[in-house]
């Protein structure tokens, strides 16, 4: 069933992609093939393979229970928040929080998770910024 849904999704994606390809504006200079032809080929193969997947699905994968899906969802949200707040609050603080969260959710005791997060953040800061000179996000305090 998952495969069938996936196939339908792939087919819709192909339709959308092909429709978008027809919308590509041509410029006055062009080669005989043009910028549309290759996308048409891609969209067609995408549609065909999606149909094959719908018709011949594999065995059902083992989806995790709701709790684990929720876990992945929250982790994704944390990462998105990390990306958004990175420039505002600087690398070390954001990284320490995000790494602590991930470590906690992977089964660490909360205290050791916080320690791990801080060690990871400071460690990366020291190695990559201070030693190797990579530019990291600067927060209001300069780190």
């Amino acid at each position: 069933m998952s495969d069938r849904i996936f196939g339908v999704f792939g087919f819709l994606l192909a339709a959308f992609y092909l429709w978008q390809a027809t919308q590509i504006e041509l410029s006055f200079i062009s080669d005989p093939f043009g910028p549309k032809a290759f996308p048409y080929m891609i969209g067609t193969v995408l549609a065909i393979s999606s149909v094959v997947i719908i018709l011949k699905p594999d065995t059902e994968p083992e989806w995790p229970g709701f709790a684990r899906l929720f876990e992945i969802g929250v982790a994704t949200a944390v990462m998105i928040a990390y990306a958004l707040f990175l420039k505002e609050y600087g690398f070390v603080l954001c990284t320490a929080i995000a790494a602590s969260y991930l470590s906690w959710r992977l089964g660490s005791h909360p205290v050791s998770a916080i320690i791990a997060g801080v060690v990871i953040a400071v460690g990366i800061y020291v190695i990559f910024h201070l030693v190797l000179g990579l530019s990291l996000a600067r927060g209001p305090w300069g780190f």
Binding site: A75, L102, G123
Partner: protein
């Protein structure tokens, strides 16, 4: 003799303090990356690329660093296979079959030594194979026109889908998904924007490094979160014991190493096969040839030597098409190709003519790195055994954060970080659905070249389709592509690696 002269020049390039240091660091990191379950060659190299790139390393040193990591990971994977019965990376899966029984029988040290030696033999001769085969392939590649290149790209996708995956439709879908992503952005030939929805960030297209790190490294973090497999090896590690194998054991395994090196190298050179298939084929053949007393699977040293010689040899073999044709034969070489493209170097025949120092410096560095790896993996192996004790609940957050650092370092753009997270989630879903990730990466990397060659061929012949099949070379490539894609359907499951069917299918880390 030209070749040997070039190789000598290569040693002159590689034997600088900087390059030797980078090779040493690469080998060391690579062995750790290979040894740690959850980090394999492709995602290990993937998170290091943005770093090598932002550190501003020139092409040769950057390539030396990352290929040393690649070779090192092939060595390192065996350590946890033998000691923990958990493959450190996918190519090392076959090593668990005989390696762990040996460890349980108190011969862990011997197993590590034999496999280390086998790794050295495989990698050493495969590097020689690379030295002699790559220039020959370059000669053939010089005959290629745009139409042949287009056919070659199709061949790469077809064999990747046919041989290395279980479901051709899904591999095809993955490939066009990657190609589709590559078409996002301003069209290079006419300057019109495509699929960018008026979003300025998309005009440049999606950076392939962002896609690679998201798909390979971040999706791994999600897999671990899903299973909440945060534990480490803790105290399950078997005592290593003596690391010097008896001479008799070495002598027994030499024929196995020799055969496996050949099989592994061939598997590596074939586009789309890679090191996992190399070790699988080597082990299977070795079992068929020498398993007379039914000792395979119960701790036969030959069963340890064969897959390790096979996967290291395949790693060298996979570099041949990557360097000579610009078409990678496996996941990790695709990632290496990404780094070359990021440095504005296009592999292929021109690379050998215009930047011989890059190619031969790299090859020389591989020889040097291989000797370093032998030293690290025999006497110093217990150092790496200790690394296995790091639990993944501390390791995976670090991997995630280093991925962010790398991508942020390239562009400093929040948008790229968000795209990377999206690719991470996508990678997790696709892994669950058993859609291979390597064709996506290959599509993203090669899409631009593929379209360019197609359109160039059409421009030359004024839009005449039949011209794509106008030369014997092109027809040959197309036939191979069709055979490679269709044959596995007919021959059935014989060629397909049972690897993936048996275990870790979803956690599989493409090599």
């Amino acid at each position: 003799m030209d070749t040997l002269a070039s190789l000598a020049d290569g040693f002159a390039v590689a034997l600088t303090w900087q390059n030797l240091m980078l090779a040493l660091i690469g080998c060391f990191l690579g062995t750790i990356i290979g040894a740690l379950p959850g980090l394999g060659p492709s995602n290990g190299v993937a998170i290091l690329i943005p770093l090598a790139f932002t550190l501003g390393l020139p092409a040769t040193p950057a390539l030396i660093l990352l290929t040393s990591v690649y070779y090192g990971a092939m060595y390192g994977g065996r350590i946890s296979s033998i000691l923990l019965n958990i493959p450190g990376d996918e190519p090392a899966l076959m090593t668990t079959l005989d390696g762990h029984p040996m460890a349980k029988a108190g011969k862990a040290g011997e197993a590590l030594a034999i496999s280390g030696l086998a790794s050295f033999v495989g990698a050493f001769f495969a590097t020689w194979g690379l030295v002699f085969l790559a220039p020959q392939l370059v000669k053939v590649a010089l005959l290629f026109g745009p139409a042949e290149y287009f056919a070659l790209f199709v061949l790469a996708f077809a064999t990747l889908g046919g041989i290395a995956s279980r479901n051709q439709a899904k591999a095809a879908l993955a490939a066009v998904l990657g190609l589709g992503i590559a078409t996002i952005g301003v069209d290079g030939q006419t300057g019109v924007p495509r699929f960018s929805f008026g979003e300025v960030h998309l005009y440049d297209g999606i950076d392939f490094l962002v896609a690679i790190v998201g798909l390979f490294a971040l999706s791994e973090v999600f897999i671990f979160l899903e299973h909440r497999a945060g534990g480490g090896a803790d105290d399950k590690v078997v005592k290593v014991g003596r690391i010097v194998p008896p001479w008799k054991m070495v002598r027994e395994t030499i024929p196995a190493m020799g055969r496996s090196t050949v099989f592994g190298f061939i598997a590596g050179v074939l586009p789309g096969a890679g090191a996992s298939l190399g070790s699988f084929i080597s082990y299977t053949f070795e079992k068929r040839i020498s398993d007379r007393n039914g000792t395979f699977g119960k701790g036969d040293p030959r069963g340890v030597a064969a897959p390790e010689a096979g996967n290291n040899s395949a790693a060298g073999g996979a570099l041949v098409p990557m360097l000579a044709l610009g078409v990678p034969g496996s996941g990790t070489t695709a990632v290496l190709l990404a780094m070359l493209l990021a440095l504005n170097i296009t592999p292929g025949p021109l690379l050998f003519q215009q930047n011989p120092d890059v190619v031969w410096g790299l090859i020389a560095a591989l020889f040097i790195g291989n000797i370093m790896l032998l030293a690290m993996n025999l006497p110093l192996v217990s150092l790496f055994v200790r690394v296995l004790l790091i639990p993944t609940r501390y390791l995976m957050p670090a991997v995630a954060m280093i991925s962010f650092v790398g991508i942020y370092g390239i562009s400093g753009s929040t948008f790229d970080l968000l795209v990377m997270i999206a690719f991470g989630v996508l990678g997790w879903v696709l892994r669950k659905l058993d859609v291979p990730l390597v064709p996506i990466i290959l599509g993203v990397l090669l899409g631009d070249q593929m379209e360019k060659n197609l359109r160039r061929a059409m421009t030359i012949h004024d839009g005449d389709w039949t011209m794509l099949f106008n030369s014997w070379l092109a027809i040959g490539l197309w036939s191979f592509a069709i055979i490679g894609f269709v044959m596995p359907l007919i021959v059935g499951r014989y060629f397909r690696p049972k690897i993936a069917d048996e275990a870790i299918a979803e956690g599989a880390d493409p090599d």
